[in-house]
Amino acid sequence: MGKLIYSMLVSADGFVNRPDRSFDWADPDDEVLAFITERQQAVGAYLYGRRYYEVMTNWADLRSVPGLSDVDYRFSDVWNATPKYVFTRSLAHPPTPNTHLRTEIDVDEIRALKESSEKHVTVEGTEIARVCLEAGLVDGISAYVVPIATGGGTPFFPAGIALNLRLTDAHSFASGIVNLRYAVQH
């Protein structure tokens, strides 16, 4: 059985985007991307909200784009090979292979996916995370804390949910991004 891990880039004041919902600052550098790629060897499926999925589609087919770094190509390979579940009501045809669309967030399906998976399942998207946290399905939280304060936006930790956590790893990068990993104490 895999673990369900909620992982995103987060501002130092705890938001995944700015008040205008932009998140241009949440752009991992090569060192961070290589670290994430390494971690993703243990990930067997991604759960995405539509907004983050659409940003991530930039990583599809990078092999056809010349002149990028090895880190970019390796991340693209891993990303393309991993099954994706996208929760959306507005997207009819996903532009990437290996992609399953869902119009509803079904906690039983997510639970079954996690229980049948040998590898971990990651969640990127605050709405899916809220549903999974409320259902007690989230085992780990991984925040890549970016050295910026946005002053508002969508909170990474859903409002109204108190959680006891256990720090499992803290790692800082040259760019000033800090990865904090927690196990959720149920």
Binding site: A149, P155, L167
Partner: protein
Amino acid sequence: MGTLIYLMVTSADGFTSSPDGTFDWAEPTTAVHEHVERFTRTLSGQIYGPRMWETMKVWHDIRPGDGGDYGELADVMYEYGETWRSIPTHVFNRQEGHPLTGEGIRELKAASGGMLSIGGPGIAAVALREGAVDEVARYVVPHATGGGTPWWPVGLDADLELVEEESIDAGWVYLRYRVGV
């Protein structure tokens, strides 16, 4: 000209207290207390708002021979009390007609040769909005409150530069940033 650092204990989701105003999850372990004591020793002054002052002023009385009024405490508590009392303290209180102003904070910095700390979040927001805070340091506690008082002022954006990251004890992580770089 001194520098100003905003130091705060925060939840993992960035709050200084739970929605009901409590912060029992922010009880430091001995190792965390030692870390705070070492930090406090580097200060030349401390600036508090009224609520933070209410929390901190107990350190006036925690000293060897206090008659056990505060129970049996670790040695570091007495050391911290001694260090804390040795640092000049400035308390501001808007309700009592003594608010922190931009001018006030600049005067304090100009008169200081070292590092001043400021807290809690309300008074720090005044200084942050004035552009007077040079560094922010945050103890991140492994607990999410789901709401409460945000450690960082709502509506204020800033670029930060990480200068220190340290895992201390019991899952507490210390993050220190330079502001506005």
